[in-house]
């Protein structure tokens, strides 16, 4: 069976001082049905823009310049606006980083879920409300009946995110895009939301594209991982590939700098230098200026993906030319 989602060469540009900047640059992703793919990277690396590009919700003046986004073999970028609208919220749904502001403050939360249902299905208001009630119970909102008619400001951040999840699930999507779903929440609430997403994914068998910079959550939730740096995917692989056999110098640096994995009392190793701003991206590998393994082709040529194992690819010249071993340090 073909993958649920296949992204090929997706490029999204924003205008810069010297012409358009590819904030998302030739991204390839592939997701099977029922799979959780984590898209990992630091702030500003283009993860969220990738997600918004999949939904065709890139804010102006950004534009999707090239690529294909195949959902069940149908290219979403070719769809007409009205056709795309029918896909959004029904085949693929999205939850966001900011549950505080993602709900309309002057509309009751139940009504907002009802709207989502009735946009895609010809059901009565009462039926939609009934569904909403079930969804609230499913996502673990206590006293769901009473919560239908409250306004967002009367709910805590965690409950708001649960409402967002209920809204996203309301039309039984095949793919849920979760853009930093726990970042704005307290640590205890984060764990609850992660567990909820895990349960929902299992019970519904839906695919989740999880966008995060939190490696702990990646480790808990994901089947496969794609690591993004400065607009490009630098490494993809299974969770085990990434956490045990990280190969790209950036992925390795990222893992080493994670406090969870460090020994107590030891200074955390950091990646030297800073992320280049899109205006300063080099024509070659964008990590080159910070990479210990940098050699001639790195500054000049974009590295292609080199397979280093089953379903494990790395975009690195050093790996491609055998200078850097898959498992070696």
């Amino acid at each position: 069976m073909s993958p649920l989602l296949e992204v090929e060469g997706l490029t999204t540009c924003f205008p810069g001082t010297r012409g358009p900047l590819p904030i998302v640059d030739g991204t390839h992703l592939s997701m099977e049905r029922g799979e959780v793919l984590a898209l990992v990277g630091e702030s500003g690396c283009g993860k969220s823009m990738t997600a918004l590009s999949l939904m065709r919700l890139v804010p102006k003046p950004g534009r999707i310049e090239a690529g294909r986004v195949l959902l069940d073999g149908r290219d979403l970028l070719e769809l007409r606006v009205t056709e795309m609208r029918a896909v959004r919220g029904s085949r693929m749904a999205m939850i966001f980083q900011e549950p505080m502001t993602s709900l309309n403050p002057v509309v009751r939360v139940g009504e907002q879920v009802v709207e989502a249902i009735r946009l895609h299905e010809p059901v009565s208001r009462a039926q939609a409300r009934e569904r909403c009630l079930e969804l609230f119970a499913e996502v673990g909102i206590p006293d769901p009946q009473a919560r239908l008619d409250v306004y967002p400001h009367q709910l805590s951040g965690g409950l708001k995110q649960r409402v967002m999840i209920a809204m996203a699930l309301s039309t039984r999507p095949d793919l849920l895009i979760a853009d930093e779903p726990t970042t704005a929440l307290d640590v205890t609430i984060q764990a609850q939301i992660v567990r909820l997403l895990q349960e929902l994914q299992r019970s519904r068998g839906m695919s989740i594209l999880l966008i995060t910079h939190d490696l702990g959550i990646v480790n808990e939730l994901s089947d496969r991982v794609a690591v993004m740096y400065a607009g490009r995917i630098v490494e993809t692989g299974s969770r085990v590939d990434i956490f045990r056999h990280a190969t790209h110098p950036y992925t390795r640096g990222l893992l080493r700098s994670n406090p969870v994995l460090a020994a107590p009392g030891e200074r955390l190793p950091e990646i030297a230098g800073v992320v280049p701003s899109p205006e300063d991206w080099s024509p070659g590998c964008r990590f080159a200026s910070r990479c210990r393994h940098c050699f001639e082709p790195c500054e000049a040529e974009v590295p292609g993906a080199t397979p280093v194992g089953e379903g494990h690819g790395v975009a690195c010249h050093a790996v491609a030319q055998g200078r850097l071993e898959g498992d070696a340090e």
Partner: protein, 321 residues
């Protein structure tokens, strides 16, 4: 809620007291009671007549309270009359002021009420449209026209419209008023046209900004992500959230409908409260002027309280305490 209203009313009383004091000081800084008398009686009257007139109208007393005149002064009398709504008679022509207000209110409202409704009816859909086409040529064109329209003085609109429509094209009378419903439309056409044109630029720019601000919020992104169409987003999500800044502007304007329009009325010869106020300023008619200012400040304070109360109706987050 009740405590809130009471507190706001107390603040409002303070504001009105301040306005009355400010008006009094300002007026008698630029003119004197003698000027008021001379304006009323004419330039060539003997000093004895002036003194007599001042005594009759209470303008012979000292301006401010002082030893021996704690109540026998003009400022005290000024407050006493205003606070008891004893407006008295016009300094200029001796008519009862209440009578003049009653006669002026009708013409004022026949101009300002349609002007208000038409302006809103044109400006809000237009700004929704411009905001809908944000960052396109339609939007940019809309902004340029708005800025142009608001940069031109209303005086130019008045004169231009009177010249072009009234004098050259002869579509409508240049100025005048008639309470006959058959004729009133013809007299109102020009001031309405000018009023809308003079206001629309600023209105569209303001509402567009409000709508655009709401269009860039996270919940609008959520609405899009769940498959909402742009039209529905504008009508259901953006517009409802824009009501707070919108109400501030709209409700606050309502009380002033009763005050008439100063410029439109005086230029188009509409015998409303605006024209009365302009005449009072020109004729040094203190007793009429202060009445108009006093009523204006009362309406303003009232409008503000109503606006604040209305927030609670449109925004569930607002609770008045």
């Amino acid at each position: 809620m009740l405590a809130y209203v009471i507190r706001r009313v107390i603040y409002g009383v303070g504001v009105v007291f301040g306005v009355l004091l400010f008006l009094f000081v300002l007026f008698f800084t630029v003119t004197s009671p003698d000027d008021v008398a001379r304006k009323a009686l004419g330039e060539r009257v003997p000093p004895a007549v002036i003194e007599q007139w001042k005594a009759n109208h209470g303008y012979d007393r000292p301006l401010f309270p002082g030893p021996g005149a704690w109540t026998e002064n003009m400022l005290f009398e000024h407050y006493r009359r205003m606070l008891t709504f004893d407006f008295g008679r016009s300094d200029a022509d001796d008519t009862p002021i209440v009578e003049r207000i009653r006669r002026g209110m009708g013409p004022s409202l026949t101009l300002t009420l349609p002007l208000f409704i038409l302006s809103l009816g044109v400006a809000i859909p237009l700004s929704l449209l411009v905001a809908f086409f944000r960052e396109t040529y339609i939007d940019r064109l809309g902004v340029v026209i708005s800025v142009l329209a608001m940069s031109v003085s209303i005086l130019l609109y008045i004169i231009g419209a009177q010249y072009l429509v009234g004098r050259i094209l002869h579509w409508f009378p240049i100025s005048g008023f008639d309470s006959d419903p058959q004729l009133i439309i013809r007299f109102l056409a020009l001031p309405l046209l000018v009023g809308i044109m003079a206001g629309i630029g600023g209105d569209v720019r303001f509402y567009r900004t409000v709508f655009l601000e709401e269009s860039n919020t996270d919940y609008v992104r959520t609405a899009r992500a769940k498959g909402c169409g742009e039209g529905r987003i504008m009508a259901r999500h953006v517009f409802r959230n824009s009501l707070i800044p919108l109400l501030t502007r709209v409700i606050l304007a309502i009380p002033f409908l009763f005050m008439g329009s100063l410029l439109l009325e005086s230029f188009f010869g509409i015998p409303g409260l605006g024209a009365i106020t302009v005449d009072a300023i020109q004729g040094n008619d203190f007793s009429v002027l202060r009445t108009m200012v006093y009523i204006g400040s009362l309406l303003f304070v009232f409008g503000q309280i109503v606006t604040d109360l209305s927030y609670g109706l449109v925004d569930p987050r607002v609770r008045l305490e």
